[in-house]
């Protein structure tokens, strides 16, 4: 990262709240509870998203269904992983994302992940750092929307479903 050019007090405090690398944030608050952190951050993130992980019931599974919200505090995941440091959360993805938008201070970053059979590609991993530009990351792509605004006809399914429940 380039050296600070014009760092004000405000931007410094934002920087502390927002780690600058997507993968470092993912690993620090989610991936490290699942896989070892050897090598580059992007490779560790790839391993977390594509490897098998131990479940509470004793078997193993990839992150192949459900959702996760990665937070600087404890992260939530719908899959019953045998991982200390992650909170099991059985809400639906729409309930979880909607309630997160309502509670979120809009300053500390979040990652909204939806899992499917294929792993989420690294290029689809994005931090959300502004309520006006929310990013829902999935293997199929990234749904981007303004959480304050009503969906249009062309909006994605998550934004429409959340708005409908409001």
């Amino acid at each position: 990262m380039a050296t600070c050019l014009l760092a004000s007090h405000e931007s410094r405090s934002l920087l502390r709240a927002c780690p600058m690398n997507t993968f470092e944030f993912f690993n620090q608050h989610f991936g490290r509870h699942l896989v070892s952190q050897e090598g580059e951050p992007d490779f560790a993130a790839y391993r977390a998203l594509s490897s098998n992980h131990k479940l509470v019931k004793g078997t193993e599974s990839r992150l192949a269904s459900g959702w996760a919200i990665v937070r600087p505090s404890i992260s939530s995941v719908q899959l019953k992983l045998a991982a200390t440091g992650l909170r099991f959360d059985e809400r639906t993805r729409i309930e979880a994302f909607m309630e997160e938008f309502e509670q979120w201070d809009g300053i500390e970053p979040r990652m909204f992940l939806m899992f499917d059979k294929a792993p989420i590609p690294l290029e689809n991993l994005f931090l959300t750092v502004d309520r006006r530009l929310v990013r829902i990351c999935s293997p199929a792509g990234v749904e981007t929307f303004d959480a304050n605004k009503a969906p249009t006809e062309e909006s994605g399914g998550i934004q429409k479903a959340i708005w409908k429940r409001k």
Binding site: T3, L5, S8, L15, C18, N21, T22, F126, R132
Partner: protein, 213 residues
């Protein structure tokens, strides 16, 4: 180095896949096309650079109309796919055997894009007018699906501007700018975005102030 506004008049709708289409990305791509040297393409962009940040704005265009556009791409492994670019499994092989003859082994892919009708696409920059003019005069099409006739360029205009290609006159970001490098309006939109070339590489992303699109 001058402050410039650079505009293309468009003859056909523009197709994009999102992103900010910054001027430095466009110029780097044109330099790469000439010599095939990636490092040179990223080093020789004729724009001002401050601590890695190029003074070239995102693309701005007024959308007259917009719609989704789908394209089917038929991929044939032997011709279109460099296996060095495909992710490998633990044993160093590609995840799936790719056949050279049977279409079902590697067939059609459906890609969705966003298509915009616009009369003009513009950027702001601080840079070398002559070099920018020389590079951009080669451009016949811009955006995605250029070979299908989208984003046809009719005319290039380069004129003086008050904008430096980084921060606008009202303090708004004109391109993705990492938080600590931004001195403009702190109420601007923030996003996790690539801020330097190669823009496709996720490791070049940072939390940035970004232009509203």
């Amino acid at each position: 180095m001058e402050k410039l506004k650079i505009s293309f008049t468009l003859q056909s709708p523009l197709v994009t896949n999102g992103g900010y289409m910054t001027l430095d990305a466009l110029l780097a791509a044109l330099i790469f096309d000439q010599g095939g040297d990636l490092e040179k393409a990223h080093a020789d962009i004729p724009l001002m650079n401050t601590n890695g940040l190029w003074h070239g704005s995102a693309a701005f265009f007024e959308k007259i109309d917009t719609e989704k556009k789908g394209f089917v791409a038929n991929l044939h492994a032997g011709h279109d796919l460099d296996l060095d670019l495909v992710m490998k499994n633990k044993s160093g092989n590609v995840h799936r055997a790719i056949g050279l003859t049977r279409r079902r082994d590697y067939g059609a892919v459906f890609n969705s894009y966003r298509m915009y009708t616009a009369t003009e696409i513009s950027w702001y920059a601080t840079g070398d007018r002559e070099q920018i003019q020389r590079l951009l005069s080669e451009v016949e099409f811009i955006g995605k699906r250029r070979a299908s006739g989208f984003g046809q360029v009719a005319n290039l205009v380069i004129e003086e501007s008050d904008n430096d290609g980084v921060v606008g006159l009202f303090g708004e970001p004109l391109r993705p700018i990492p938080l600590e490098m931004f001195s403009g309006d702190k109420s601007s939109l923030r996003a996790d975005a690539a801020w330097r070339p190669a823009y496709w590489h996720p490791m070049n992303r940072a939390v940035c102030y970004v232009p509203a699109q």
